[in-house]
């Protein structure tokens, strides 16, 4: 009854067949994973690639149609709903397999299926030598299905299906080349670290559900939660506000999925997967799920100021810390991986200070430029026959002009050069961070400077200077095929232009993006319009100028070191006796610490328990049998048959290598025991009667 009340409060929503958005990639995955091998053997790898790509593009078309439908609705009625079926209904728990499409889901789905489709096309070129294209495209399609389920899920449990489902796909794709143990170890690491987050996420979900049940509004449906969560006000558990505890637990889940401190360690290793996977899953989409989840539940997080401070701090720390690691890596994909961790930190910084729309805006622009950077790196790696070390690249500009051009545009975007996408979104975040806490802003600014440096270090080392490529690969240097360059061009266009969706008022824009998301982040929107009166544009200009200057400084430094060579990288590496450099290069030894402390801890505990189980717990059992046997020597009058059985049992234990065992195994024992057992039962029954 109470649930129906909640339903009435929630927005009604327009019924719309959203299920096709997820069903098409699922169908593609099912066909390719079940029959793909045969299909590929019969019709060649083009068939499986076309199938996978077609399903992705078809899903994109469905998303666009849903988006247009959504836009045609009045602003405060923008919600499409599709209840596929009931799922679990036990007691207070009533969850359906239901999908919802609102302005936030629209943005996410457009990114996922749009960039996803481009990456499917790109993969056709990239995976041209792989015999298991069917598995690759099948997993890629399955990933789209899971990711879209995560986004479209109308309640937390359906979201969780997608949430762990993307983990499965990530596992399967990181370890795609599974004959190498490095890859599968990275895959397992990713899944396990994510599971730690998922464990917290589950607990948060349980706590939320039961706390609401106490107030008579048990629900996990997002739309209903928005109206139900005010009931958490004043509730406490273990001396902490329930809202704070729930959001902290959910945030731990987000740090796993979105690679934040302390659970970021899996993402750099995840680069073991094929590069299109890194672009799609580990840059543009899956890793942003944590940010999405927080924005989806912004009404809940806004109730917990302490959690918000934690998120801001973790985001800023991650942005800075990961950037420092990015400075010194030689592997081009590792640079991009730490850059992703760092950029995700910015997004958390944004949502932490309540700038939800800005967080999603950066998520959007980052999806373009980081996917483009990864695919560009993939194009280089493909051309160099899987060489990833930038020290063995260089001068590729003339061989791969399209790759170079698009990579450069994206590097300009991520560095925050004015006019490019990253400039608008990053500055929005820095501006909002400054308003919340200038210290956070300063940390973000420093990270931005480092970002500009390490990105241009990568650009210069890879594309400029003399060519350091050796041997066979050098002779075959060439631009990649059109299936690979076309996605690069489209993504570069996004990296250059996507920022204009959200030009801030200070620069004479209308910030369409923020307007579009306004219905989802009502609270933030209301707070902003409230504060709009005292808006200081001068301060905003000053901050903007500072961040542009910082970015310029980073690029200049990279130029001086790697092009002009008027400064030497070695000089910088030697600062402080080389300690900072070694810390950065070795990623602060965090992996070593986790392995030594947590992993070995659990493994030692498990070995110790297994030993105890075998020698102590089971030892007592065998010992008990022995005691019975000895006591039987003294008289054995209690129950002749049962004790006899025990003696035989002990005999096999004690002397199983001895003559007794050999005698027992002759087969005669079976007939004997059969009689024995029957006798025991007869005796038991004769007593019963």
């Amino acid at each position: 009854m109470l649930e129906t009340a909640a339903t009435h409060e929630a927005a009604a929503g327009v019924s719309y067949a959203l299920r096709w958005i997820v069903a098409l990639p699922l169908a593609g995955a099912a066909i390719n994973l079940i029959a793909g091998k045969r299909l590929q053997d019969a019709a060649g790898r083009t068939a499986v690639a076309v199938l996978g790509s077609a399903m992705s593009i078809a899903s994109f078309v469905c998303v666009v149609a849903a988006f247009l439908r959504l836009r045609s609705l009045p602003v405060d009625e923008r919600l499409l709903l599709d209840t596929v079926s009931s799922w679990i209904h036990i007691g207070d728990l009533d969850v359906s397999i239901a999908l919802a499409f609102d302005p936030l889901s629209a943005v996410m789905c457009l990114i996922i299926t749009g960039i996803g489709s481009l990456i499917h096309i790109y993969s056709y070129g990239y995976m041209d030598e792989d015999p298991a294209n069917w598995r690759f495209f099948g997993m890629l399609n399955l990933f789209l299905f899971c990711m879209l389920t995560l986004i479209l899920g109308d309640n937390m449990l359906v979201m969780f299906v997608g949430w762990e489902g993307v983990g499965l796909c990530s596992w399967g794709l990181i370890g795609f080349w599974h004959s190498d143990h490095t890859n599968t170890a990275a895959a397992n690491k990713a899944f396990l670290v994510n599971r730690i987050g998922d464990f917290a996420f589950l607990c948060g979900m349980f706590l939320l559900f039961w706390s609401l049940a106490d107030s008579g509004k048990a629900t996990l449906v997002f739309r209903e939660l928005a109206h139900a969560v005010p009931a958490l006000e004043g509730m406490t558990l273990w001396g902490m506000g329930v809202a704070t505890l729930v959001t902290l637990l959910l945030f731990v889940g987000a740090t796993g999925k979105s690679a934040q401190i302390p659970l970021y360690v899996w993402l750099p290793d995840a680069m073991a997967g094929p590069t299109p996977v890194s672009a799609l899953i580990h840059a543009a989409t899956m890793v942003t799920a944590g940010v999405y989840m927080i924005v989806r539940l912004n009404f809940l997080f806004s109730m917990a100021p302490f959690t918000m401070q934690v998120i801001t701090a973790v985001g800023a720390a991650t942005a800075f810390f990961a950037a420092t690691i990015g400075l010194s890596q030689h592997d081009i994909k590792k640079v991009l991986a730490y850059s992703t961790v760092s950029q995700l930190g910015y997004m958390f910084m944004a949502v932490g200070v309540g700038a939800y729309a800005a967080g999603i805006f950066h998520l959007l622009t980052h999806a373009f430029f980081k996917a483009c950077l990864f695919l560009g790196a993939g194009s280089v790696i493909h051309a160099l026959h899987h060489e990833q070390d930038m020290r063995r690249m260089g001068g590729l500009r003339s061989y791969m002009p399209v790759t170079f051009g698009t990579f450069l545009i994206s590097a300009l975007a991520i560095a925050g050069v004015p006019g490019f996408a990253g400039f608008f979104s990053k500055d929005e975040i820095l501006w909002r961070a400054f308003l919340a806490n200038p210290v956070i802003w300063a940390v973000g600014l420093a990270a931005a400077g480092m970002t500009a440096f390490y990105m241009f270090r990568a650009v210069f080392l890879t594309f400029a200077g003399e060519c350091r490529v050796e041997g066979h690969a050098r002779e075959h240097l060439h631009e990649s095929s059109w299936t690979m360059t076309l996605p690069l061009v489209v993504l570069a266009a996004g990296a250059a232009g996507a920022g204009y969706l959200g030009v801030p008022a200070a620069l004479g824009g209308a910030n369409h993006f923020e307007q579009w998301l306004a219905p989802v982040v009502e609270l933030e929107h209301a707070a902003l319009s409230h504060a709009a009166g005292g808006h200081d544009t001068t301060l905003e200009y000053v901050l903007m100028a500072l961040s542009v200057a910082t970015a310029g400084l980073g690029i200049l430094l990279a130029y001086l070191i790697y092009i002009r060579k008027s400064l030497s990288a070695a000089t910088f590496a030697a600062i402080g006796g080389g300690v900072p450099y070694r810390l950065s290069f070795n990623k602060y030894f965090v992996d070593e610490f986790y392995y030594g402390f947590f992993l070995n801890g659990v493994l030692s505990l498990s070995r110790a328990l297994a030993w105890i189980d075998l020698h102590v717990v089971d030892g007592i059992v065998n010992g008990a049998a022995r005691v019975v046997r000895i006591s039987s020597d003294f008289g054995g009058a209690i129950d002749h048959y049962v004790v006899d059985g025990l003696v035989n049992g002990t005999a096999t234990v004690v002397d199983r290598c001895g003559a007794a065992a050999r005698k027992l195994q002759t087969g005669g024992i079976n007939a004997y025991l059969y009689v024995l057992v029957l006798a025991v039962i007869l005796v038991l029954f004769s007593r019963a009667w």
């Binding site: 994973l33 079940i34 799922w87 679990i88 209904h89 036990i90 007691g91 728990l93 397999i97 449990l157 969780f160 299906v161 949430w163 762990e164 489902g165 499965l168 599974h178 004959s179 190498d180 143990h181 599968t184 397992n188 899944f191 396990l192 599971r195 998922d198 464990f199 589950l202 607990c203 349980f206 559900f209 493994l603 505990l605 498990s606 328990l609 297994a610 189980d613 717990v617 089971d618 007592i620 059992v621 049998a625 049962v642 059985g645 025990l646 035989n648 049992g649 096999t652 199983r656 065992a661 027992l664 195994q665 024992i669 079976n670 025991l673 059969y674 057992v677 038991l684 019963a688 009667w689």
Partner: protein
């Protein structure tokens, strides 16, 4: 179909008699006969699934005959929402196990006879509503199991079989004592469980307490709950594949089934008293301890055996909570564990048949060699580690959700096993299926049609129940809610007041 339960129970026994009269060297005929006689209960089970009315909380398909009049012992069969799932699980797994036993070459006739007798015992346990009858079936099941492990098992089969037998016998004796105590406790004397349930309020607190504990130990051995679990890894390691499947798939459930069928409704006050320590705490310990022990194993079967100990802990925790989510989750978990762990043991059996060892570190790269096998393995492994969208997730999340309302600290400890479970499952997966191909096994043939038939139906069930769990939940929910109420509302009514 008045007597459907008797048919399901005794058709396999008829099969045993049929096999008995066959010449011992006609292996093919014996196998097909056994298969036919296990398919009958399966077909009846499918019919039963359609016909069973899940909205009724009482017993259905009840058969009642006087058996031994002097002692008022009756032949009562009947099922409710609790037992129907177990009957269906048994009917499903038995034909699969017959197929999995196809390549048994030693003592074929004896093997299939004992197997058919085993099915009769198992069905009977789940259908019997007279305690005496229940006990008889319980013992009937014990004997063939002993011989199936002791004769057709691995190198240490004698030790494992005797250990299994003695352990279970201890449980039987305790059960027997409690049963007789119940029998002599009221007038007129009866073993009729339904009558005993009605008399529950008249049982004094102290009587409930010791009888509950006696029964509990008997059932805990079967589950198996720590510290009575050490027979299980030994039995699994030595048992042939099909017997492991039955052992983990059906026999373990008899422990938790017995608690729900007998301890809960007949001794509800004692249940309230002991649920926390004996079920919730011990169950949580089972979950974590089993998972940690599993992680250290080198033998694939031992690992799966410890994972069973861990997964059965969820059942104990769920039933202890007395919440609708918890208890539904527990019984659903009994069914889901039955299918998932059956798949796991079948999967281990496939490589064991080919390589004749189960050393986790002795393989490598099987994914490149056996793609179909690997695909089905992936479904089973990810179901076992509770991936959302697959069956076991639903039951585990229901258990944990119910447990959270019951006791948050225990839930957090129990839920931490999601990390450990993923750890040992994926680590085994990596060592056996991934990595460079072990040249020794580079030519291992992929699944045969027969093996595919054993695994595929289970995989389908695992997938379907992940999306449509109400296919089972609808059968059990009303019964379990009524059981919850029985226990939650129970108080001891003093005997004087009754008169």
């Amino acid at each position: 179909m008045e007597n459907v339960l008797s048919y399901m129970t005794f058709v396999p026994l008829a099969g045993m008699l049929a096999v008995m009269v066959m010449p011992r060297d006609k292996h093919e005929v014996i196998r097909w006969t056994a298969l036919a006689f296990t398919l009958v209960p399966l077909l009846l089970g499918i019919w039963l699934y359609g016909d069973f009315d899940g909205s009724i909380t009482g017993m259905q398909y009840v058969e009642r005959h006087t058996w031994i009049e002097t002692y008022n012992i009756q032949y009562i069969m009947g099922i409710d929402g609790l037992s129907v799932t177990m009957v269906l699980l048994t009917a499903l797994l038995c034909p699969i196990c017959i197929l999995a036993s196809w390549n048994i070459e030693k003592g074929v006739k004896g093997y299939f006879m004992l197997f058919l007798l085993l099915e009769t015992g198992m069905m009977g346990v789940f259908c019997a509503l007279d305690f005496f009858l229940f006990y008889i079936f319980w013992e009937v099941m014990l004997l063939p199991m002993y011989f199936l492990i002791g004769i057709w098992g691995g190198p240490r089969r004698e030790y494992a079989a005797i250990k299994f037998f003695l352990y279970t016998l201890v449980g039987s004796v305790l059960m027997l004592i409690a049963m007789l105590a119940l029998y002599f406790h009221g007038e007129p004397r009866t073993f009729d469980m339904l009558v005993l349930m009605e008399r529950a309020p008249t049982y004094a607190r102290s009587f409930q307490a010791w009888a509950w504990l006696a029964l509990f130990v008997g059932f805990a051995i079967k589950i198996p709950a720590f510290p009575f679990h050490t027979w299980l890894p030994d039995a699994h390691v030595e048992a042939p594949t099909a017997i492991s499947v039955i052992l983990a798939g059906v026999l373990l459930k008899m422990g938790t089934y017995g608690i729900l069928r007998i301890c809960y409704p007949i001794f509800p006050v004692a249940t309230q008293q002991f649920a926390f320590w004996c079920l919730a705490v011990l169950g949580t310990w089972n979950i974590v301890y089993g998972a940690l022990c599993a992680m250290a194993q080198q033998d694939m079967k031992k690992l799966v055996a410890y994972s069973s100990i861990s997964h059965m802990g969820y059942v104990m925790l769920g039933m202890a909570t007395l919440t609708s989510q918890g208890i539904n989750g527990a019984v659903l978990q009994m069914f889901n564990h039955g299918t998932v762990t059956a798949m796991l043991f079948l999967i281990v059996g496939v490589v064991y048949d080919r390589a004749h060892h189960r050393d986790i570190n002795g393989f490598g790269g099987l994914a490149s060699v056996m793609p179909v096998y690997t695909g089905l393995m992936t479904v089973a492994f990810f179901a076992a580690l509770g991936l959302p969208g697959l069956s076991a997730f639903i039951s585990e999340v229901l258990v944990l959700l119910g447990a959270w309302q019951y006791n948050q600290a225990l839930t957090i400890v129990a839920a931490s096993a999601v990390v450990l479970t993923a750890g040992y499952m994926l680590w085994m997966l990596q060592r056996v299926w991934l990595g460079p191909v072990n040249e020794k096994y580079a030519n291992m043939p992929d699944l045969s049609a027969r093996e595919l038939v054993t695994l595929l139906p289970l995989a389908v069930i695992v997938l379907v129940l992940g999306i449509h769990p109400h296919a089972v939940l609808d059968l059990i929910d009303p019964t379990l809610l009524a059981l919850n109420r029985t226990v939650a509302d129970a108080v001891v009514v003093s005997a004087q007041l009754l008169h």
